[in-house]
Structure formats: C-alpha cells, structure tokens
C-alpha cells in the first residue's frame, strides 16, 4: 500500500512541478514576444521549444498516471481457474468406481473438476506450477488432490548456460507418455479420455468420463539437441526417474522402487501453415513384477491464415507388456498355484477435427483397447463431437459415443454427452487443438 501511495505522490508532485514550469514559460514568452531584438527572438524560440517539450512531458506523465501500478499483487502467481462440468444420458446402466466406491453414473450431471492453476517464477533459476483440483467422483462425493505440483530448474546454479537447453523438472506432473496424457480434461478436444489412456495409464474410477491418465512423482531432464540447425524442426528428449507402481499397468506394492520413463518428440513446420509432430515414449518398472509400455503418437495440423477453417488429425498407439500373478492349476501337483504370466495388450485411438467456423469445431474419434488383464477382452468406441466457443474462456461441447465391448456390462452403450468449460483469471495458453 505504501508503495502505491509513494508512487502517486511522486507522480503528482512531478505533474505539479511541470504545470508550474509551463505557466512560468508561457509568462516569460508573453513578456519577450514582440521584441525586435534578434537575441530576444532566439530566446523566445528557445522558450517555446522548452514549453512544448515540457507540455509533451506533462502529457506523458498524465498518460502514465492512468497506468496504475498494481503493487499489491505484482509478485503473486498467475492464477487461472478451470471449471469442467458434464452431463450424460445413456442407453443402459453404467457403473464406475471400484468396490465400495462403485456407483451408477448414467443419466447424471457432474462437476468433473474445478482446477486452480498457479504459475510463477520462483527466482531467476526456477519456475513453479501448482494445480489443485476438486473432482466429483462417481459416488457424487468431492475429492481434492494435487493434480500437478512441480518446479522447473531452467538455469543451473553452477553452469550458468546449460547444454542443449537442459532443464530439470521435479515434483508431480502429468507424464509425457503420448500427447493427450499431458492435457488436463478441460483442454481435451473430446469429452472423455481415450480408452487406452484410461486402461493403461490410470483412472481411479475406471471410467473414461472422469479425469484419468498418469501423473508421475519424480524428476526428469529435458533436452533439445540442436540437430536440425536452422530448419523449422526440433527434437525434444526427456528422461525421468519416477516412483513405480503409480501407473495403472504397474504394481502398487512396488512404490518403493524406481521406474523410468522417457520420450523422444519430433516437431516440424512445412509448407507455411502445416505442422507435424511425432513421438515415441516408454515406461519401465521392475519391482515384484515387470510393467512396460511403448507409446507411439502422431499429430498433424493445418491452419491457413485469413480463414477460420483448420484441420487436426492424430492418434496414439500403446503397446504394453505387464506381468501379473495368475492362479493356475499345476499339472503335476494339481494344486492351485500363483504363476507369473505376461500380458501384452495393445490399445490406441485415431481422431480428426475440422474447424467449421470461428466458433465451431467438429470431430470424431475411434478407440480400440484390449484389457490390461486379458488381451482377449476388447472394447471399441466410436464418438463424434461438436464444440462451440463463445470465446476462448467459455466452451460448450456435445458428443455422442457408442461402445462395443466384450465386457457385457459395457457392450452396446450409447451415451449422449454435454460438456461446459469455464476459464477465468489469468490468460492461460490456448489448447493446442484451437486455431485462430
């Protein structure tokens, strides 16, 4: 408060001084004008010059006076709030959640998440992000969790200039396994998560309707080797050491073991308004049991200038290998024993989106996934979506999904979805699938 007051008092003082100077100069010019003496004429000209410069300074200060400094919140983090709500109508009963938490979610509305996103520079060396979410669960209760909380060391204390743009990330963050896992629900171009992400990366509810995906707890390094020179292409490398057992294909009891994940991402721009990105990511943990995942991703976008029509096409494919203990009858002893068996399910999705106008985007997605517990159990989902932007801060989406599944309780379900997203507070980066 003292800072603002001091600033204004100084400015007001300066403005008053300049006003007095203007008045004094005008008076002096009045007295000196009309004189024939050459010296006096020059003096008048100089005085007029001074007067004009002082008037310009005065105008500038008055302009600055309107730019009130907000000293009170200058050092606060940038805060953005995201509200995501959705309603669904189903053709049959749909359950989500496990065990005692299982509940019906068909024909209901949910405030799926209320996220508060804080971002700030901690000091010249580190940026920090904290995202706290209140999420409504299938049983209608609200849970609070730290969606992400991490720091990025962008400038090393010893080596002032890091090789290959080295940065170090530490904390809890959405893992770079594919590109859709990096996005929070409110930034997705669809109303549900891809089935493969739910099945292999993580989901408390087991349902693609609620927030899902994998947030790792650990640390990693990010590099950008300069192999493309001046060409409009880049290669990004990441390697992370994280706590094992937190990914859905992993073993929870292994959480005292390290797991490893990495990603190689390629990005290029070509023919002016086309972009292509492709990546390979992997996850590995070996504690009591082995769990590994290989992800392939590709994303193409075309956005011509001067028209509000863009195209985005992409997909992800995951190959999983996980060991699980399975009860089997030993052929020699005829006793039931637990044996390690490896499952190798695969799953992925393809999607396409077309921007019809400034406000409207239309898209479709096809999912295919094999169960992580039994690769013979398959699920297919076909979905269509229409998204409407009133502005970048308010988005409405309607979607229709149909499911074919070897899981009897899921097979044949058709779901109509309506989703609303509200964004307020600090200006967030736009979701990547939006082009203007």
């Amino acid at each position: 408060m003292h800072l603002i007051l001091a600033f204004f008092l100084c400015q007001q003082d300066e403005i008053e001084q300049l006003k007095k100077r203007v008045a004094a100069l005008e008076e002096e010019i009045k007295k000196s004008k009309g004189q024939e003496d050459e010296k006096l004429k020059k003096k008048v000209k100089k005085l007029e010059e001074d007067l004009e410069n002082t008037q310009i300074e005065l105008n500038k200060l008055k302009e600055k006076g309107i730019e009130k400094p907000s000293a009170l919140n200058l050092l606060n983090p940038a805060i953005t709030v995201f509200l995501n709500g959705a309603a669904r109508v189903d053709s049959q009963t749909v359950m989500a959640g496990a065990g005692a938490e299982a509940a019906k979610i068909d024909d209901r509305m949910f405030l799926r998440s209320a996220e508060v996103d804080f971002r700030a520079a901690v000091d010249p060396y580190v940026d920090a992000v904290l995202i706290v979410a209140l999420e409504q669960e299938p049983n209608q209760e609200f849970g609070v969790e730290v969606e992400e909380g991490y720091g990025v060391i962008k400038r090393l204390p010893v080596l002032e200039s890091a090789p290959w743009g080295l940065r170090i990330k530490a904390g809890r963050y959405r893992a770079p396994l594919g590109f859709s896992n990096l996005l929070h629900m409110h930034d997705l171009p669809w109303s549900t998560r891809p089935q493969a992400v739910v099945e292999y990366l993580g989901s408390e509810s087991g349902s693609s309707f609620f927030e899902a995906g994998y947030a790792a707890l650990g640390s990693g390094i990010l590099l950008r080797p300069p192999i493309f020179g001046e060409a409009p292409s880049s290669l990004d490398l990441e390697f992370h050491v994280v706590r094992a057992g937190q990914i859905r294909i992993g073993d929870e009891s292994d959480n005292d073991q390290p797991a490893f994940l990495g990603r190689v991402g390629f990005f290029t721009k070509f023919a002016d308004h086309h972009t292509l990105s492709a990546g390979v990511s992997g996850y590995f943990e070996r504690g009591n049991l082995f769990a590994g995942l290989l992800g392939l991703e590709v994303l193409y976008a075309y956005k011509p200038p001067g028209v509000w029509n863009s195209i985005v096409v992409g997909g992800e494919l995951f190959f999983v290998r996980r060991e699980a203990l399975v009860e089997e009858k030993d052929v020699d002893t005829m006793e039931t024993v637990e044996k390690e068996r490896a499952r190798t399910p695969i799953g992925g999705y393809l999607f396409a989106q077309y921007q019809v106008s400034w406000h409207v985007y239309a898209g479709a997605r096809y999912d295919y996934v094999q169960s992580r517990q039994d690769d013979d159990v398959e699920t297919h989902v076909l979905a269509g979506y229409v998204s409407y932007y009133t502005s970048e801060y308010f988005r409405i989406r309607a979607g229709l999904e149909h499911r074919w599944s070897d899981v009897e309780t899921e097979d044949g379900d058709t779901t109509l979805l309506v989703e609303l997203n509200f964004v307020f507070g600090s200006h967030p980066p736009e979701p990547w699938w939006v082009y203007r």
């Binding site: 400038r155 990010l222 300069p226 721009k269 972009t275 200038p305 509000w308 106008s357 980066p429």
Partner: protein, 336 residues
Amino acid sequence: MKKMLALALAMAPGPTESQESKKTVRVVTTLNVFRHVAEKIGGGRVSAAALAHPKRDPHYLQADPVMQKTAGGADLFIQNGRSLDLWANDVVQHSGNVRIQTSHGRLTASHECSVLEMPRQISKEWGDIHPEGNPHVWLDPLNLKQIARNTHGALCAVDPAGRATYDENLKLFGREIDEAMFGKELVEEYGGEFLWRKIRLGKLDDALQEDGAAGKLGGWMRKARALKGVKVLSYHKTYAYFAERFGFHLVAELEEKPGIAPPPKHLEDLLDLVKREDVRIILNDVFYPTDAANYVASKTGAKVLVVPIDVGGVEGVNSYVALIEYILDRMVSSLQ
C-alpha cells in the same frame, strides 16, 4: 569445486578485439516488425528471426517446439508486451536459454511508448480486453521510433562493442522514418525533432502555416491530408494509433467486443451507424475473414480494405516504411 570452475573460466581466453568486432548478435522477435527494426539498428552485427508469421493473428499463436528451439539460440529476445503476445512467455520459459530469461536479454518493445485506450475497468465482461492498453503501438511511427530506441538500448547492453554501429544506425533509421513521415525537404529545413514536437501537440499545421511552409509538407503526412476526418470502421481495435497519427476517425469495430467474432445482430446494428456516419472505409486485418466486412460493405457502399499490420503481411511489404505506405495508399486511393 565451484572456486576451481570459476578460476578456470576466468583464465580461459576471452574474445579478441577482432572477434568482438565481428560478433553476430542473434535476435529473436515475436513480430516481424521488431525483426525489421533489430536489423535496421543492428546492421551487420545482428542476425534476426521472427517467430510469428505476419499473416497470422499475433494474439493467438501457440508456443510450438520450433519457436522454443529458435529462442534457445537467441542473445536477445524482443516481444511487444501489453498482453498482445502472451505466448512469448511460454516460448522463453521452454527455450532452455538462460540469456533471455532474465536481465538484459529480453526486451519489451512497447516500453515507454505512448499508449491509448487504457481501460478504466478491467473485466472479461468487456471481451478479451488488453489490461495494459491497446497493444498495437507500432502502427504509430512515433512509437516505432521509441521501439527503435528501446532496441538500440537492448543491443548496446548485449553487445557493448557494437555501440558505435548501433548509434549510427539509430540515427539513420530515425531519419528514414522522419523523411517518410514529413518529406525530405521539410526534415532538412526544420529537423525531425521540431516536426515531431509540433505534431505531438497538434500544432504542425499552424506552425507550417505561420512559416509559409505548408506546401513543403511531404511524405505520409501529405498523403494523410486526404484522410482527415474520414470515418472508418475496423474489424478489431487494431488501428487506434494509426488513426490518431494520420487524422481519420474510427467509429466502431465489427467485433462486438474484442476477441468475439461479430454476431449477426451486431452487424445489423452497425449498418445504421455506418450509414449515419457516412463510413467510407472498412479496415480488415489480413488474418481475419472478410465475410462480416463484405456484408456491411454490400449494404452501405463502404469499401473493404484487407491490410497487413506487420512487415511481410502482404507481398512486397518488406519494411516498416513500406507497411505504412501500403495502408495509407490503399486508404487514400479507395476514397477517389
């Protein structure tokens, strides 16, 4: 360990005088106009690249990996500021380049520029307003001179050995803008400083009349006489500075509120205004669709002009002088 490293670095040979004199400062900018200014001031000591395509809306770009990679090699990063190119923060943060994260490696070009349309109330109710005032400052040549001075200061800080070059180029570029603005003859007679002082106080015409020099006015100011008091519509609040400097009057925007595409009802309401005010021109930025502008023009007889706002936004507009010339020429010829 740290002490040994510091000692080793201190003992390592620094650049020789000839190496310093040949140094190339790598400048990365958000907009092409800043790249152009950096090259003008930097001359042979600077290699500059712009991240934004001049035909794309600079409000809504995304910080892609290629932008981050490009910024990763920069000695100096220049952005507009005033909440126009917020995506620049993402570029810098993910660039892995410590030189542009702090201290003098990063410049906000609009610093100390004269600012219009500072909002008294800030709320998203008013659309996607810019809380630090209208950010399209570079479209006023006087502000462009301030941007050039800011760029000069930043280059001197990053490359002190190049000061003499930057000083000379700043003078030359300033003269180039002055002559384009007022005409060579008038600048030679009165000096740019005098003319800018008069124009800032709205006294240029009177001063020239008093001296009998009104006929000597050349350059953009001479061309802009034809625009004095002309009523103009624009798609977005892009041309406030341009209008202020060259004397035409912006009556409204096709956007109902900033960042919100024109709804049909708003366009219908605008038709009355356009007819009543005798709006002659509709300025449509090159990256906005022209449907709304064409609709209003078809009902009112106003002329739609699709114009660039950045260097390179249209073929042949390869400099700041060419950019201002292009817009002025299109406007003036549309009135004939």
